[in-house]
């Protein structure tokens, strides 16, 4: 494997910079902290549980709001738990949905045990096989710049697997009250549509 030079916080910060009306769903754990660290936003729906559900929440949103972009930011472990979602998304072909997997090849919340991707299981290839028209594995800043454009504006569904350093970074905790996160999101979405 080539030397990993991407850092998760930088990846998320660059992708969410100047995000406009992007709707963001995060997987639980480190990806939620990464998204919060990039700046809390009413159009972020952070998961604190229900592991494996992030991509499907993204699909429900994307189907309901075809004129807005939806981005799911999650980890390799969470994506693996909902891997069948890629097949389900492949059937519906939502052009406005992107999935960004921060692949540190570890289960970070439970002690950095190796995940399946550490053994070479290729989830970008799974996404491609599930009819994602764009499915890339990236590991450099130049590739990240391209990936940002793909996630924000290319006809999808778009799948980006960003290979990131398996590092521990300070926790930046998003709101934890699920009702508050839901209401805040729904109200913000209502406002941008008026």
């Amino acid at each position: 494997m080539a030397e990993v030079i991407l850092h998760r916080r930088e990846v998320v910060r660059r992708v969410l910079d100047d995000r406009g009306d992007l709707l963001v769903v995060t997987g639980l754990g480190a990806p939620a902290y990464d998204v919060a660290a990039a700046g809390d936003h009413a159009l972020n729906f952070y998961l604190w549980g229900a592991m494996g559900s992030a991509a499907m929440i993204g699909l429900g949103l994307a189907l309901a709001k075809p004129k807005l972009r939806v981005l799911v930011v999650t980890g390799d472990g969470e994506m693996l738990m909902g891997i069948g979602s890629l097949a389900t998304i492949g059937v519906k072909q939502p052009g406005n949905l992107g999935i960004l997997v921060l692949d540190n090849r570890r289960y970070g919340e439970t002690g950095m045990q190796p995940s399946h991707t550490d053994s070479g299981v290729d989830i970008a290839a799974v996404a491609a096989a599930c009819r994602f028209p764009v499915a890339r594995r990236i590991s450099t800043l130049a590739e990240l710049d391209d990936a940002r454009g793909l996630l924000h504006s290319t006809q999808g569904p778009v799948f980006i697997q960003a290979v990131v350093e398996p590092e521990s970074v300070p926790r930046v905790l998003p709101p934890r009250d699920g009702n508050e996160i839901r209401l805040r999101f729904a109200q913000a979405l209502d406002r941008i549509e008026r």
Partner: protein, 177 residues
């Protein structure tokens, strides 16, 4: 295996009528004989996005995503699928999402496959413990009223509700001799 639901029964059309009346726009399902006619009606309707799932728990995320965007969704599943959903159902309780689930029962009335029975026997308890209000339909003449009431409760009352459609209603599963 030959599985045929009665394609002349009216009750799937009554359920479909309630989903339309309630302005349901997304329907998630795993293919199922008991729901086959309802699924086909949803697939044929241009206002409804039908989403075929690889496992029922995906449907819970789908419903929550739709609800975040202010859109109504429903889930169709077999009793065996309820067990697949349990952790995902925590989304409903934690975030206050409503949910309408229409469950076709296997593993009860005249079931020939004993492997279906253990999950069927705990389906109601699983749903109740997961925060659902339950309704059960035994006879065709109850479908319209009970499903209509369930739609009102799910979408106006914002209460997660599951309607169990009994195996007696759906009809015995035919076992090829």
């Amino acid at each position: 295996m030959d599985e045929e639901a009665d394609q002349t029964a009216l009750w799937p059309d009554q359920i479909f009528g309630h989903l339309k009346r309630a302005r349901v726009r997304q329907v998630g399902y795993v293919p199922d004989a008991g729901h086959s006619r309802l699924i086909q009606r949803c697939r044929d309707d241009p206002q409804i996005r039908d989403v075929v799932l690889t496992t029922e728990e995906e449907g819970v995320g789908l419903v929550c995503g739709a609800a975040l965007a202010g859109e109504r969704a429903a889930l169709l599943m077999q009793s065996s699928g309820v067990g697949n959903c349990i952790n995902a159902f925590s989304l409903l309780k934690n975030c206050g999402f409503s949910c309408l689930v229409l469950v076709t029962m296997r593993g009860e009335f005249a079931e020939f496959n004993s492997w279906q029975v253990p999950m069927a026997s705990i389906t109601e308890d699983c749903l109740r413990l997961s925060g659902f209000v339950l309704s059960r339909v035994e006879h065709e003449d109850e479908v319209d009223e009970i499903v209509g009431a369930a739609c009102d409760m799910a979408f106006d009352g914002l209460t997660p509700i599951a309607v169990l459609l009994s195996q007696r209603l759906i009809g015995r599963k035919k076992w090829p001799k």
